[in-house]
Amino acid sequence: MRFRFSHGAIDPVAARDELREVSAGGFVAFEGWVRDHNEGEEVRRLEYEAFEALALVEGERILAEAAARFPLKRALCVHRVGSLELGEMAVWVGVSAVHRGEAFAACRYIIDEVKHRVPIWKKEHYRNGDSGWVNCERCAAAPRESAGAHPHEHAHEHAHEHALKD
């Protein structure tokens, strides 16, 4: 179970190879990509920044939780930091398991928790020249969905994911 950061492009093939195991009958991955729009704004590029020391601990914690909930073989999450262009991969989550059901469920669990809990921030640069930290500025006054387990969870979904590949 590993969580790590990448300062350059994520290599999904190499990442998948880390999850290979002969007892695993399936593998599920999720890739988050940089999208060209969000909340009605045209996005030109993104910047990701992380509090890496705590993010690594929290990321590993999420993977350990996933392993405790679902019978996994292996799991890996790689998150980009730095400046990303449209179409680049921002995050990669992969899970290998005996059967597909737990692989899908664990992959979903990991990406959902990572988005809510790991101290990573995303700055959007818009076509009009503006920029803003997602969840901090444009939506700072928006009511939050939950004040409990995930006080930073937003009413809006700022997802940049597009595809689920396997």
């Binding site: 920044e49 601990v57 990573i120 995303k122 500025e137 940049h160």
Partner: protein, 299 residues
Amino acid sequence: MSDRSRRPPGTISTAATAGARDAAPLRGLVLAGGSSSRMRRDKAVLEYGGRPQLDRVIELAERHVQPVFVSVRAAQAHEPTRAGRALIIDSVAGEGPIVGIRSALGAQPGAAWLVIACDLPFLSDAVLAELIAHRDPRALATAYLSAHDGMPEPLCAIWEPAAGPALAEFQGTGALCPRKFLMRHPVRLLEPRDARALDNVNTPEEYAQARELLVPEVKPMQLKVQYYALMREQAGRSEETLETAAATPEQLYGELKARHGFTLAPDQLKVAINSEFASWTRPLAPGDAVVFIPPVAGG
């Protein structure tokens, strides 16, 4: 000890200071037998600078006179702050400090007593040294005048052996107040040099004020604060080392929000100390690395 040759600003009695040769030996007596009714808790154990005031005043007295005894009621003899001290347990009937003073004079009839109430947190070496330097063994007592009302202060005073019988007679008339005794008998009185030195502390409010005056200011500690994302931009830096008196992340954020103009409210943030999530009320320690975590947006 202060310079014995220095004259106090004013001495009122005309009696000449007697030589040490004909004076009774001086002992210390710290009065800790009160019921602390106005304070609503035992005054002897009230703390200044982390130490019970009884311990502080005994230590102070011992720098000027030895041995030092503690005056207590029989019921207080086993109270932990008092137990283990040389005690003089009340042996005469009645109420108030006069009982403690008379019990000491009765216990050692050949001795004079430097009597000090335990609730004088501002008492200083200079005040005791000056009192002892100007002791008049031929008076019944040597005492300061109150800086507030000009009356004698009986509870930071030297009581001579001859005061024993006179106090017994005074108490026999139904009188209780040693201050009135000093006003009616031949005693040596000194002008105080420090107006606050003999202020006593009787109520929780006075205690709180005295602690503020006495306890050295909270020493600011050095912390490292790291900033990310929006807060890094608003602070104009990714980290800073600062001196703060803030005791918790909550107080620290209040300080920094004002300094850097942060727009995020505390309820939008989480706190990490030394790279682990922490509560807003966790006490900060010197050297801690603190991060205020804005709403995250990974993925």
